[in-house]
Symmetry: D2
Subunit: 351 residues, 4 copies
């Protein structure tokens, strides 16, 4: 089984098996999944399904050898296909994944897992009955940045984690079916779930729909976790500049993760001063920072590729992925609660 | 009267009058106020009062000609003193300022103005009865950065302002008498009040006291203003790195203000793309930003000096400062409500 | 014909012709050329040649339909191949390109064009006799950044160009056959040649070989151009950090181009102050910058793809590329002179 | 005697002596020297001399207790004055410092020490005959940044120092009497002299005078030092942006010092990869950096104040400053040679 913090990077080539995938949905993210499945030795794409003929045409140009279809049943009913990759809007995940599991296929499904808790629970039960694997595409768990932060936290270098504070803003507004929470929060919720593994206690979400469409374009979510951890998320679709900034504060050190930087994504700061002293007080008022900073080199390997290699490992070895259906469910539960709080003007919701 | 957006920079030298100040409180900020009052031609410091003899000794070394006292009455009762600068902890502002007004002195008082709304209202009434001026030290209103943003907003370059989003974090915890909201929020609340001049409708504040001292060290405040403006403030005393970052999003452009940068504090971004289109959607997913950016040179003059020159103008011309008691009261009202929401677990408070 | 400063971006699809390429060399850059030739509608790769069987094997996995060979004659003698892409070490360019031209093929050749001036002149003559096109892969000319700078200079926004100052450093030392000038200077020399189109007058190069291998790993090159333009280049193979920084100073504005930034690669600064005045002098001593800054959004399209599309345009329309053999020759002439000065301890060489 | 790398920070207060200074020159830098001399317990300013009555008037406003004069003899002939601070243009240093030494005063003199080698040698001899101290104001040696770099080099963390590469550009052109080398190079030459303590062997300087005034506004200086160290300096008066960037490359690590950053002025990079390997080659082509980075917190104390405290230590203890006349002479010798090479079109000069 994969250990937290690093990958072996080697699927069991000895097994020799090539896992055949059917890919449903070839819009924005589907081509990336397809490209990596073709590059990885142990995986292959047999069939791509999309409802849009023009989109299928683009796939045909790149991959003349792959079967193309507008009918997902061609995938479900193909006995040679082992895994179905569901890369479609969230509202369709449940039905497509359910049909795949019923057909005896493993499922790799885009995040968020499902549109509500009930759907997620049902898919988990179905997969367990059938002995099939669900992997939810929480891609960020497979980035060098998140892996490094996890390593630092697990090694105790950060100390007790006091807060997790993420800003994730960009231009959006085009999402027709979901609001800014369903669009952006799955990233942060899954990262936090992975990094600290604590249970959320209650949350509140406040936001606004500036354009009267019933779809909030700004949301601020605050979540209290067990053991005095407070998490805060700033989601915004009205920013021409992309911000991906996360602060993680602990009793020993603090991590600043700016994912938009090409380099120095991760900076780790010492406190460096006792701010209870008078000298410390004055220095903290004047100086930009008080201690040393360390910026580790981050593994630049493509996260999606790492994740799919890890999927192969799980399938070959019959192990449960860290990003399985239960992980997907934990994130959906938070999304559902945050959306509910948002709709009720920021009312605090117990989880 | 000073116009928004620029200073004349010239107090009426013709008047010839030198305004005599008594400074109460010579801890962290008092020396800065004193230094500027001595540098400005139209002002002088006659007396400095502090309860700590060591602190007074420091003042004596720098300014041998200034009278020093541990008794504030020496200032109130001195007929030569025109203005009392109250640079002490907030809990003492009301009593000290009241005594100054009763003694017929104008008042320059550190922010936040008072500890509650009632105190502020009483001081305003007293000053109006006596025909005296109150200026609350909302220093940031006099920075080149805030002045430039104000100019852009007033000129309509930003368009309709949709959101104001500020992060203000650093190492703190040493504040013994107030929580992180009372410590850090006065800056942002007064800046926003100045920039948009809209009325707050309701707010919510969530936070945490990690150390069981009854003093919250983290707080997230969301305020809804009239005309669909949402403001959000992230205050945190547990960060070894200082962050002073504000995003202001409008229908036309967006301002990113990073006050920790030596240069390029203000960046103004074009949207540059119609994200309703498919091409716009894809570009917004991939690109860091979508339009051009402009970074104006900011006037680097010391804000506190600008503010004190402006105080002289107001006193000489008998005009009301933009940062008068009423401005101070508006900020205290928000502080009081935010603190109340925080204490009640994030309950939404109507203003 | 393509105009300087922008591309039409549309090869004449009406023509319908697909240009068949033979690619010689599949090491570091060859795969990128191949990938783009396959993506572009009007081009195709028929054959890839490499002396290393393992390298060919990598190509086979990606492109099972392409013919693979260790013998370049298979390309030269194939009548279906229109263009030979020579993506090999510089020492082999002359022989391979000559054979291609003799075989009636157009040539796309990696920079630097040849190892000396004589070889370049011979290839140009041969191509002209045969009516064939040579394009030298000066990729940077096709980046959004260089295109934007060109546009600003041509529009007169920079004013008279006073200096061009480039720093290009990274870890190297592995180049076995050429020194740091031959490795890194072709980029900068070709960019400058494109941007200002002036004739170099004389140059000097100083450097050092720290490891006694006869291959300089650091070199500083200064070139005087006509009309009072001075250019300076800082090349270094001993830096664990990659720096790609260029300053272009003019009588009106200055361009700062940091190619390592993900965003804001190009910043254009106003002078903003008359430094002959006393006030200007003092401000220039204290302030980081004196005028406003503007950072245009840069076209993020892949430069190599733009270049190959442009090659198709030139072939279809029979026009001469801006990066033709003569452009390649101009750069080789400067490389040869710089190397000669370096070997003679910095002696100034007239061009 | 002060050790390299740190200050005791405590002048011998027990001695109780207050050193009386006469300050000649109150233009740009003189006020800073004066302010610090007044702040430091062990020093005092008795007299300020300047030829410009308006400048003297400014001094009078700040320091009403200090004697002001337009005649330097009032300083030389005052038996109470111990030290003369010469803060005037370089062309006047020799005459003013000589007169001070003849009058039995110690000398603190602005950099560069003198206008030529001969003057420097004469002043050194005179001081030694009289038993007086010369300190040349190489302020940068007393910054937290330079001190930290020195510590890293001395501890062997950088390894063998291969190169020192500095860029120092800003708007200038206003200097009437000296060119860009005499204006900007003293900083870098003195820093390098302090950091590595090696002897320069030969140098070359190339540059340009764009405005036909006989005063070069751009210069590139390359200096070869013993033990295979190459140093390079980029000086430029035609940049509206200030750049203060230094790379120091060693066999083990590399220092990047960006003095314009408010924070993270010093970054220290590991090599992190063996670039002789094929994998190392490819990574070095693609990645921004290859190893970890460490950014120590730098002591933010004002360098000039540290330097003047150190001057007091040297005077009290009779020790020789690291920035004595000999250090000043070494820098003047390099300046003279660089200027000579520049005037002769880049001719290499042996030192």
């Amino acid at each position: 089984m994969i250990e937290h913090g690093h990958f072996t990077g080697k699927a069991n080539a000895a097994a020799g098996k090539v896992w055949q995938f059917g890919v449903i949905g070839y819009g924005y993210w589907g081509p990336n999944v397809t490209r990596n499945l073709i590059l990885i030795k142990e995986t292959a794409v047999k069939t791509i399904c999309d409802q849009n003929p023009e989109t299928l045409q683009r796939a045909a140009e790149f991959y003349p050898a792959v079967t193309l279809t507008e009918n997902a049943e061609d995938i479900y009913q193909d006995p040679e296909i082992d895994v179905v990759a569901v890369i479609t809007p969230v509202s369709t995940h449940y039905a497509l994944a359910k049909r795949a599991l019923e057909s005896g296929k493993h499922v790799f499904v885009e995040k968020p897992f499902t549109f509500n808790v009930k759907q997620a629970e049902e898919l988990i039960t179905l997969a367990e009955e059938k002995g099939l694997t669900i992997m939810v595409d929480h891609t960020f768990l497979f980035t060098g940045a998140v892996r490094h932060i996890k390593k630092e936290i697990d090694a105790g270098n950060i100390g007790e984690v006091y807060y997790y504070d993420s800003t994730r803003v960009n231009l959006g507004l085009f999402q027709q079916d979901v609001n800014v929470i369903w669009d952006l929060a799955p990233h942060d919720f899954s990262i936090l779930d992975f990094l600290v593994g604590r249970k959320p206690i209650r949350l509140s979400a406040l936001g606004l729909d500036h354009f009267g469409r019933g779809i909030e374009n700004i949301a601020y979510v605050t979540v209290y976790f067990e053991e005095n951890l407070i998490a805060h998320f700033n989601f915004n679709w009205l920013s021409p500049v992309k911000v991906r900034n996360t602060l993680i504060g602990g009793s020993k050190k603090m991590v600043v993760w700016d994912d938009m930087l090409r380099d120095e994504k991760i900076k780790i700061y010492d406190k460096g001063v006792d701010v209870e002293s008078r000298e410390g007080i004055y220095r903290s008022l004047i100086d930009y920072r008080l201690g040393d900073m360390y910026s580790p080199r981050i593994n630049p390997a493509e996260a999606l590729k790492q994740e799919l290699i890890y999927l192969v490992e799980c399938l070959q070895q019959g192990t449960t992925p860290i990003n399985d259906g239960h992980a997907g469910l934990r994130i959906v539960r938070m999304l559902e609660a945050a959306d509910s709080s948002l709709k009720r003007g920021g009312k605090v919701i117990e989880l």
